[in-house]
């Protein structure tokens, strides 16, 4: 296979990382909501933790982007 084509396929495959980030963000917000429904008085206190978890989960998907960029431009 030509190198250029293989690079394109590899960069596309790196986008699969987004699946994991999607699952992670869904779990975080879903669990936060279900916990907030059970105990609404404690919900406000855990809001910073929710945002922290969201940012951390979102970042793992973006590592896939970095992998794609390395494949496309570094080799």
């Amino acid at each position: 296979m030509e190198l250029e084509a293989a690079k394109m396929i590899g960069a596309g495959l790196a986008a699969i990382a987004l699946a994991g980030a999607g699952v992670g963000i869904g779990i975080i917000f879903g669990n936060y909501l279900s916990a907030a429904m059970r105990n609404p008085s404690a919900a406000q206190k855990q809001f910073p933790n929710l945002l922290l978890g969201f940012a951390l989960a979102e970042a793992t998907g973006l590592f896939g982007l970095v992998v794609a960029l390395i494949i496309l431009f570094a080799f």
Binding site: L51, L52, F54, A55, L56, E58, A59, L62, F63, L65, V66
Partner: protein, 244 residues
């Protein structure tokens, strides 16, 4: 007319070229926006603390709020023993925050979307935390790699994993900030390109989308500065209070 979405990350020099012993030290647009964000932080803090009144003005309120926000964050995550490191974490947080926020303005340049900038910031954190840990605990700091209550059989494997995760801290810290800023700004430009190429008839949908994305990006700009600061606090906590 669709321009390259990566064009916005181009670094070009402003003014004359300066070469010092083979190292190019020219003043670039990246350094210009770093100076702008640092000046913004300094001027807000300067004017916020200039006229101290019991009923605070708006700018004094911003200063006080940012102070209590960071002080509470340090106290919650790293404990009261991390209080001497408040200036370091505060300047780190405000610098990253203002770099991200200045980057959200049209025609500006996002300094934190370049990995070298975030990597330098993360290496400063990593190296200083490591030195601090060794200075405070001596060689007992290596106990960080040996979690308590792990079976002896698993210990060799766990130690290797812990060392790798410790050494990958600067990489993950810098790549997280860099990738978030770069991906966000690329996405904004890609949707902006859709507006142009779809024209007057179909361009409204991506236009609305890019308005929503701008809101998300402002949230992300704040969140990533917050995450950067809070992870610094967590690393500091590891170094200050072993096995806490």
């Amino acid at each position: 007319m669709v321009t390259n979405p990566m064009h916005q990350f181009e670094v070009y020099k402003i003014g004359p070229e300066i070469n010092l012993g083979g190292i190019n030290l020219s003043f670039t647009n990246a350094s210009l926006f770093m100076v702008i964000s640092a000046m913004l932080v300094i001027s807000i803090l300067f004017f916020g603390t200039k006229k101290k009144s019991l009923i605070p003005s708006k700018i004094q309120l911003i200063t006080e709020m940012s102070y209590t926000f960071v002080a509470k964050m340090i106290n919650d995550t790293a404990g009261s023993s991390a209080k001497p490191f408040f200036p370091f974490i505060f300047s780190l947080f405000t610098f990253v925050l203002f770099c991200n926020m200045v980057g959200m303005l049209p025609y500006s340049f996002t300094v934190t979307s370049h990995i070298i900038v975030t990597f330098v910031l993360a290496s400063i954190v990593f190296i200083s935390v490591t030195i601090l840990g060794f200075a405070k605990h001596g060689f007992r700091y290596l106990e960080l790699f040996v979690p308590k209550g792990v079976p002896i059989v698993l210990l060799p494997l766990i130690i290797i994993i812990e060392i790798i995760s410790y050494l990958s801290r600067p990489i993950s810290l810098s790549v997280r900030l860099f990738a978030n800023m770069m991906a966000g700004h690329t996405m904004l430009k890609v949707f902006g390109g859709f507006v142009i190429s779809l024209g007057l008839l179909g361009g409204w949908l991506p236009l609305g989308f890019s308005v929503a994305l701008t809101g998300l990006e402002i949230l992300v700009a704040f969140l990533q500065a917050y995450v950067f600061a809070i992870l610094t606090c967590i690393y500091l906590n590891d170094a200050l209070n072993l096995h806490h």
